[in-house]
Every structure is written in C-alpha cells, then in structure tokens.
C-alpha cells in the first residue's frame, strides 16, 4: 500500500479529474468489484486454484472471480469484500483501512506483478529510512 503524507494527499485531490456529482473519494458503491487484467492464462493466475500470496490475508473476507480477458489479453481477476465493507472481520478490516477499493486494487496489482514478472516491484527506500554512509 502506498503511504502518502497529508500534504501529498491534499495535492492529489486537486490533481484528480473531478467526477460528476460525487466527491472523488466517495465511491457510492464501496463494495464494488475491483478488477485487474493479468496477461497470463487463468491457470497461471491462480495455480492449482490456490490464492496467491498477496491475497491470502484476505481469505474469508473477499470473494474472487476470474474469466478470460477479450482479445487474448489474458485473464480478468476480480475481488470484492464479502457482504460489503461493513462486514469485514478484524484483521481484514484493519488491512483494508478506509479505502477498500484502493486497497483491493493494490492487492490485485501485486498478484498481477507476481504472475507477470515473478516478483512485486519494491520502491526505493527513502533516505530517511536509511543512514548515509559517509565516504
């Protein structure tokens, strides 16, 4: 999950293209499906029908579906909170935070990266997290 400072978030809101009628951060259907297209056949997306690692903490909290993407573009993988956001159990609710859509998209994206590239790309660590080595 990307963590951004409050200033960056404020800036982000004004960069976002205004949507009709709703505030950019208010999805009228918080339990909607989040979908990602993975450029691989279904058997590689959920090998052996098992949930890939990034989704495992959400086992029991979200439902999934999978279908071939049109035009030979691989597989569409979708997830949504079981029974809507309100019913997410303890750990899952904590993980999902107050933007379940963004969180689920981010999780699906990790699954996609793992399947397509073999690993999840990690950001640089900020200099603040790491002391400079003089020399």
């Amino acid at each position: 999950m990307v963590r951004m400072g409050r200033q960056a978030l404020a800036a982000l809101r004004t960069l976002v293209v205004p949507r009709r009628r709703s505030r950019p951060d208010a999805d009228p259907r918080p339990g909607r499906w989040q979908v990602v297209t993975v450029d691989r056949p279904a058997a590689e997306v959920l090998p052996g029908g098992r949930w890939p690692e990034p989704l495992r903490p959400l086992d029991g909290a979200v439902e999934l579906w999978l279908r071939p993407a049109p035009g030979g573009r691989g597989t569409e993988l979708a997830a949504r909170p079981l029974g809507g956001v309100a019913t997410l159990p303890g750990m899952a609710a904590h993980l999902v935070g107050d933007d379940p859509g963004l969180f689920l998209r981010d999780t699906l994206r990790r699954v996609k990266q793992l399947v397509e590239t073999g690993e999840v790309l990690r950001a640089d660590r900020s200099p603040m997290d790491r002391p400079a080595v003089p020399g």
Partner: protein, 391 residues
C-alpha cells in the same frame, strides 16, 4: 555516495546520501559515468510537482558500468558498459508486449498518485517522485536499475559515452516523434523546440526520408546547431511569422507532420508558490501550450501532430475545433525506449546518428547546481549539461 538533490523550488545541492541497494531480484546497480539534464527536469526543478520531496535525486538520462547484479539478471554482468532507458518497464505485461513500454503496468512501485492523476498508473521513471511511480535519479555516483534485463543495453565498444548517453531518453524520444508521427518520404515535417529532443526528432525525420524538415525555436545558437547537424531548415519564432513561413514552405498545404518538443517548462508555466506546493491549488493560469496550438493550426488537413513535450497537468486554450475540423491525428507518449534503443545504438555505431555535440557542457557532478542554472537559462549555448560523477 554523492548525489544531486532537489532542495526546494530552484534549489539544488550535492549531498551525501545512502548508496542504492538491490531491492528486487531483477535489479542491478550501475556506477554512473554520464548523466544528462533534460527539459523534463525543469518543471520538477521549479517546484511544479507537488510530490517531489526535498532530498529527492534528479536525473533520468544516464550511462554507466554495472557493479552489482540481482540473482534474476541474465543479460548483464559486472563490468558491462550500459545505457539505461529513462522509462522503467517490466518487459512482460501486455503493454510491454505491444511495445508501449512507458505505459507498463508494472513499471512503477507506487502508483496511487499516478492512477489518480492519469486514470491508470503508467510505467516508472528515474529522477521522478516516488508517489508517481518514480525511482531515485541518476545524478549520483550509483543508481539502482529495476528490470535490468529490459531497461539496460550494452553499448557497442565503438560508441563513446558522450554519444551513447543520448540513447537513454532524448534520442528515443526524438525517434518516437518521427516514427509514431508516421514521417515518410516526401513529407514536410515541422519541429517546435530545438533542444536535444527537437534536434533528434529532426535527425530522425531526415533518416526516415522526410523531404523537408523545419525546426522552430528562438535561440539562435540552438537553431545554428540544428542546421549544422540535422540537415534541417530553421525558423526563429521571435523574428518571423511562423504560420506564414510554414505555409509558404509546404506549398500552402501545411506540414504533413508537426512535432511539439517544447513542453510546459518553456510554454508559459510559472513556478508554484510554497502554498501552492502544499495545497496543490494554483490560482494562476494552467499550462498554456503555445507550441501545440501553433502546431495544430499549421498542420495540413489529415496530418499528424505529435506531442513529445512534457505537460504536468491541465492545459487550457487547446484548439480542439481545429483538430476536429481538419481531421488531425493527435498522438503523444513518453518514449518507449526499450523498443528503439538497440536500433539507435546500431545507428550510433554506424555513425548515422551523432549526438555528442548536444552535450555542450561536461561538468563534474559537484557542479550540478551550476549546470542546471546554465541549462535552465539556456546560458552560454547550453543544450544539455552532462555530469560525470567519477570526475
């Protein structure tokens, strides 16, 4: 290691920062030998990106020597001399398979801001804010290169560092404008901007068989350089009526392909105030794309306008009516270098593509702030300042 850090609007300093580390199995570390300034840095330098943080390292056009490889790197080994594509892409998603590398689904590590700003996250880039999928920049002694097999290219022995460094960004961007603009034999091509990108667009258009290439700028030294090295004619927009000249030089039709290689930095933008950087709110005018507007008006009916210049947000006064009524094709992209760099290095090796003259100022990294001042102010004939961290 030492690196050129952004400290705030129009303020840079060389600082001691932690060495980069391998973070993924496909990463490698490169010791930088050449790292160039770019027009795309100017909006960042001016503080017009709300996401750039003090301490972030700038620079995305670079060449160097491999010093460390991750366990999944196959094509490179320690000691290789490589040029690295400014755009970070995975090489294995659908976009990469289509050759749309800068649109890579997996090229940015953090993507929420990019998704919010553009609708979908795009690929990564060195020397850009982490929140928009960026990675630490190359104006440093060392750089981490993600997806090293996809983004780094071994430089043929006969091609000098000073030539090959342009294969990182400016040359693929120039090639893209001409190729995706579909320049062909018999075409009249007009290029706005005589920076490195504009000049390399002109060279590409000539190589693709254009009949006539016309480069437009206001800096006489840049225009002279374009004439000497690209075979193009030039127009100084401060001294002449550009639309009238273009009409005259294209039989009244207008150029078949118009490439804008200017961007927001030079096209009417202004630095954001401190308050604007914090809130993201700007009361002043949004970016005013003078050159895009001129290109759309000049372009012949049914022709193509390719926007290579970088725009950071919203643009106003865009002549959509002319696009519609003249049946224009409007295209744009960040360069998909992985698609063209091997071919460009070949052309460099064959001496068909020469770029080293664009490196007008070669400076040690410690003179980075002075190099950017020259580049930003177009002082002393500066087209690109190229830093040598080792020197």
């Amino acid at each position: 290691m030492r690196a050129l850090c952004w400290e705030g609007a129009n303020s840079l300093a060389v600082r001691q920062v932690p060495d980069p580390e391998l973070r993924n199995a496909h990463d490698m570390i490169v010791r930088v030998r050449r790292s160039a300034t770019c027009g795309a840095d100017l909006p960042l330098l001016a503080g017009r990106s709300p996401f750039l943080a003090a301490g972030d390292v700038l620079g995305h056009e670079f060449l160097g020597e491999v010093t460390e490889v991750g366990p999944q790197v196959r094509r490179h080994r320690v000691g290789d001399r490589v040029v690295v594509c400014a755009a970070v892409a995975c090489g294995s998603c659908w976009y990469c398979r289509q050759g749309l590398y800068s649109c890579c689904d997996n090229g940015g590590a953090s993507t929420a801001a990019a998704e919010a700003a553009w609708g979908q996250p795009t690929g990564g880039c060195y020397g850009h804010p982490r929140a928009t999928g960026g990675f630490a920049g190359s104006h440093a002694e060392y750089v981490r290169v993600p997806y090293a097999d996809v983004g780094a290219f071994t430089v043929p022995e006969t091609v000098s560092d000073d030539r090959a460094v342009f294969a990182s960004d400016a040359a693929p961007a120039g090639w893209m404008g001409a190729e995706l603009g579909e320049v062909g034999p018999g075409d009249v091509v007009a290029v706005w901007g005589a920076g490195a990108v504009g000049q390399l667009t002109a060279q590409a258009a000539t190589l693709l068989g254009a009949d006539r290439v016309i480069v437009i700028d206001r800096h006489p030294d840049r225009l002279r350089m374009a004439e000497a090295h690209t075979g193009a004619e030039t127009l100084n927009f401060e001294l002449t009526d550009v639309p009238a000249e273009l009409r005259e030089r294209s039989g009244g039709r207008g150029p078949d392909v118009c490439v804008e290689a200017v961007g927001a930095a030079d096209g009417g933008g202004r630095p954001a105030s401190l308050a604007e950087r914090f809130t993201g709110r700007r009361d002043g005018p949004v970016e005013d794309p003078l050159a895009v507007r001129e290109a759309v008006h000049a372009c012949r009916k049914g022709g193509t306008v390719f926007v290579s210049g970088t725009f950071t947000g919203f643009v106003d006064t865009f002549p959509l009516g002319a696009v519609m009524n003249k049946g224009l094709t409007l295209r744009s992209a960040r360069q998909h270098g992985q698609r063209w760099i091997p071919m460009l290095l070949d052309r460099m090796a064959r001496d068909e593509l020469r770029t080293e003259h664009l490196a007008t100022h070669r400076l040690p990294l410690d003179q980075g702030p002075a190099g950017y001042a020259l580049f930003r102010d177009r002082a002393d004939g500066c087209v690109r300042a190229v830093f040598t961290p080792e020197g």
